[in-house]
Symmetry: C2
Subunit: 613 residues, 2 copies
């Protein structure tokens, strides 16, 4: 057995009961940790009748075997539940210091069920646990002020707080959970699930040590790998220019999206990129626990309408969503819009996607001033975008429509097919017309359109991987790509279980070596990938049981319209070709997309087979 | 013996004699090819009395054992002579298709001596050689038109032409030699040496095959290494954005220089970078022989005062020299200035450095309208810069001063110490206040301030090398860096002998494997580096014999003034600390900087020891 994952705290908010439970050893053995472990737990706890915003939807926080060990960019943890956005598998992982602190406090995970009768927050300190009243915070404090207020009232300046904002309190499906310096568990509406439980925050503080099977070997590996990671050109770029370091390059490929996915390039990208930020408003950088990359941005706008004090700066997705997608080329305005979202706890991808969709519908004449309460939505108008965020959080008039996301907005106006989303979640800003793989990635992600279950756009950009056997194929190639995408998804499933940041350019063999040194296993790359495949397939089975079918796997119409110019001119990926190959590679039924009994049995998932076939 | 380097063509222009000579086998054994082989040849042929612009200065064109083999970015060759700029070792290497074509025509090198009585060009076709009249071209055709005219009059559309422009004809020391799509043997004034010989061009055409010791092994290596190189992120960046791909990043480090080295950042870098070019005026890309990177740019400006047809686009150094250094933020204007230089055959680094120095002196009130013929030199004025290029080529009035370069210009106005040059050659645009190593690199380069004899700024930027044992040290660290710089110089000496482009991100062991497969040797990395060290030391001995002393090795005053803001704020490198270590590492006398007898003897350079000590 592995001793590395010890115990979880089970919290029944309805009953106000807190109890410790050892982590299921068998589950750890096969599902590693993080979102892998979470899907195995949730398989037992969630069914078609589970209401995502009801008390029976369990909210799981899981760290992984590497979380908090000081290894390369492994300060992360994952939050999982049935998603109120997709109705399917919900998962979001997050950096900062909260995950490590939870482990230092003696817990590897939290399983939260029920619903508190009044707002509460959870306080975990070195094995002591407590539910505390949060009525004075509910509706009163944004995600930053909540962190400060809780630290102050506990007299615990070093406690780590994970909190929802007003969006989560109001169970807006776009809501995220925020910790530390603007770190977010952003996607699939985990903030709304937390809000539905009347849980404002989870605060942790610990001083314990983490178990490592071979501490000496681990330290030795960690030292070398962190040094190499620190010196890696990609890390240096991200340290200098943040996650938007590649913005100019993505734009050159036509992968950076603009004007709600209808333009292939954004000529002003040089004014809003990570480099532009570094040269204008950047005041400092920040890192998650133990991370040598330090991609976090601190910025201050000193003049103009958005002047203010130092705040967290925007990530690539936030920049693209509130910049090029709205034709806004003012970095100060973009920063302001991103900060508004962080304060009230809104996922910036989903929120900007929904708002850009509203602008697009306005441009097309489908939405008019009579719908928006008189507000004109003209491309490039940052003030109008800011107003929409406010209306959205208040669920006021047009804002109540926006609060349900793009798909609901499109349905309301009878143009559901124009919403750029997959399974209810907005598409991230990596255009599949630039990199054909992303069509398959978005279609088959277990959590709706997602760029993190496989960031294959980085492979197409040049980050191939010999150890995974992933070569550089033509960016428009369709045949022969699915097998590589599948391997990449398997690998990312492992990363999301350890929990390793996908920004960390660490060789696969080094990650496996760290895992072995931490856990005492002797896995090789093949065995590790097999665990990833097991996890991927169980998420698939989870979704199939909840009703996912082949028909869910399609791209929105706007992404299937070729652009008239720019690098992607005239091209749209043929998803059917890739999907056919993909099902074959995955061992999924070609008609239904369901994993076959043989596939499941071969991965030790026989228990799942009877549930949905 | 190595059979890979066969014969050279010896051309005595005074006598009009042409004869073949086998390459000296002993020299090949120890000096590989390219500039390594050239320094061994020139050691025998050049002494303190050799006039750089006199008939007795031999002009050597050498390919290397990999030139033209289709290996990774190995389409290059080198041009060497005593430099009219520095009075010391002259060397410039160049891409395009000329070097491979020379080998296909049966020659591995050209040794050109004497002076023709009237303008001529050399025509080499599959072993047949001929000197032809060039009177109709001299003073008539720019470097592009010369290529076209010669191809047409020979009826040889596929012939490769290496030509000087009006700058070379006039023996302006800033003159380069141009071939193909704007490829230049740019530095140390090799174009002036060629002009002094009344040699307008060298045209080559061949259909022969190159000897490879183990063709099958070579092809196998080549296939894999080219594939990996093509997929390397650095290659992809350069393919997309050219050599200016890193401009924004260099600016963030404060390594990109601005306003004649007096400003640490250029906020408009996003308007003039490689990414900006790709998004505005780029119309196509171009590659040297067999190169999978394809960093060459084709551009067309379609509106405004610089609108015109498609031309070759500017490199990083050209952009920096005519952009930030002059506070010009108009990419069309920068492109125009670079193109003016290419047409008349002027090195863009030296020319832009000299012109920016004139602007600086004007700004300081040291030069006034009375000196410039009434021309005002205001920062950012591209028209004034264009006018200076014209005056320079015509050696007209103020232009005659400019034509001799920065050092002469400074001397004329009594401010020699303000010229940013080392040993008479202008400093390239990688500020040593950003990367301390560059102070040592500029000071110790055998050809005056040079960023290619070691591009150590790329190491400081993050491109470390495990195989060479080169780690990432703090960019301001001074102690403990010299040994790594020396190894890097040794390695680049090998690259410049093969001749491998320094843009090619190919692992050292792969380069050595290619070299062995091409030549039948069995060298390891250590033996290969030893050859590089031998070459480096012979260039040093060459320079010592010509009068180089410890006093030559210093940085210009402006680079020793800390900047008041930006990333390099307050820092200047301590060259003395690094130089002291460097001499010790090199085995050079700490007082004089001359290689000791022991050092020379240990490298098989005993023959050189008596000549200058």
């Amino acid at each position: 057995m592995d001793g590395y994952m010890g115990k979880i705290l089970c919290v029944d908010l309805t009953a106000g009961e807190l109890r410790n439970e050892p982590v299921n050893e068998e589950y750890v053995r096969d599902y590693v940790g993080g979102s892998g472990l979470a899907v195995r737990y949730l398989w037992d706890l969630v069914g078609p009748d589970t209401d995502p915003l009801g008390p029976d939807n369990p909210l799981l926080f899981f760290t992984g075997p590497l979380t908090g060990t000081g290894g390369p960019s492994v300060g992360r943890f994952t939050v999982c539940a049935r998603s109120p956005r997709t109705g399917l598998w919900g998962e979001s992982n997050c950096g900062g210091f909260w995950g490590p602190e939870l482990r230092f406090a003696g817990y590897d995970g939290l399983l939260i069920t029920g619903q508190a009768s009044k707002p509460v927050y959870l306080w975990v300190q070195d094995g002591r646990v407590e539910l505390r009243d949060a009525s004075h915070l509910w509706g009163q404090t944004d995600t930053y002020a909540t962190q400060t207020a809780i630290r102050e009232e506990l007299g615990q300046p070093r406690a780590q707080v994970m909190a929802i904002g007003s969006a989560g309190e109001r169970m807006i499906p776009l809501a995220n959970i925020i910790t530390g310096h603007g770190r977010a568990a952003g996607r699939t509406g985990m903030g709304a699930v937390m809000g539905s439980k009347n849980l404002k925050a989870i605060t942790v503080r610990g001083t314990g040590k983490l178990p490592l099977a071979d501490p000496e070997r681990y330290r030795e590996l960690r030292r070398r790998i962190n040094r190499e990671l620190k010196e890696h050109p990609r890390s240096i770029g991200q340290r200098m220019a943040g996650s938007a370091a590649g913005a100019e390059f993505f734009d050159m490929f036509g992968s950076l999206t603009a004007r709600y996915f209808t333009r292939g390039q954004f000529p002003a990208v040089g004014q809003v990129s990570g480099a532009a930020m570094a040269e204008t408003i950047l005041t400092g950088i920040s890192a998650c626990h133990g991370c040598v990359i330090a991609c976090g941005r601190r910025v201050a706008v000193t003049e103009g309408p958005y002047a203010g004090s130092e705040i967290d700066g925007p990530e690539y997705e936030t920049i693209c969503g509130f910049g090029p997608q709205l034709l806004i080329d003012d970095l100060a305005a973009i920063t302001h819009l991103g900060h508004l979202c962080d304060c009230c706890g809104l996922d910036t991808i989903s929120t900007s996607g929904t708002i850009a969709f509203a602008f697009y519908l306005f441009d097309q004449g489908i939405v008019g001033p009579q719908d928006t309460g008189g507000l004109k939505l003209a491309w490039g108008d940052a003030e109008a975008a800011a107003r929409l965020i406010e209306l959205l959080v208040q669920q006021d008039g047009f804002g109540a429509l926006l609060a349900q996301g793009s798909l609901a907005l499109g349905r309301y106006f009878g143009v559901e097919e124009l919403a750029v989303q997959v399974n209810g979640q907005e598409v991230a800003y990596h255009d599949p017309r630039a990199f054909s793989s992303m069509a398959l990635v978005y279609a088959t992600s277990p959590r709706g359109a997602c760029h993190n279950q496989s960031d294959y756009y980085m492979v197409e950009f040049g980050q191939t991987d010999d150890e995974l056997g992933i070569p550089l194929l033509d960016k428009r190639q369709e045949e022969g790509k699915a097998a590589h995408v599948a391997v990449h998804q398997d690998w990312r499933s492992v990363c999301n279980s350890l929990v390793l940041c996908i920004f960390a350019a660490v060789p696969v063999s080094d990650v496996v070596a760290l895992f072995n040194a931490a856990t005492g296993r002797e896995w090789d790359i093949a065995e590790t990938l097999r665990a990833g495949r097991r996890i991927w397939n169980l998420k698939r089975a989870f979704n199939c049981r909840l009703g996912l079918t082949r028909a869910n796997e399609r791209l929105p119409r706007l992404l299937l319209q070729p652009l008239a110019d720019g690098p992607t001119e005239g091209y749209v990926p043929d998803l059917d070709v890739m999907l056919r190959e993909y099902y074959a590679v995955r061992g999924w039924d070609p008609e239904t997309g369901k994993p076959t009994r043989e596939t499941l049995a071969g991965l030790g998932l026989g228990f799942a087979a009877g549930e949905f076939t």
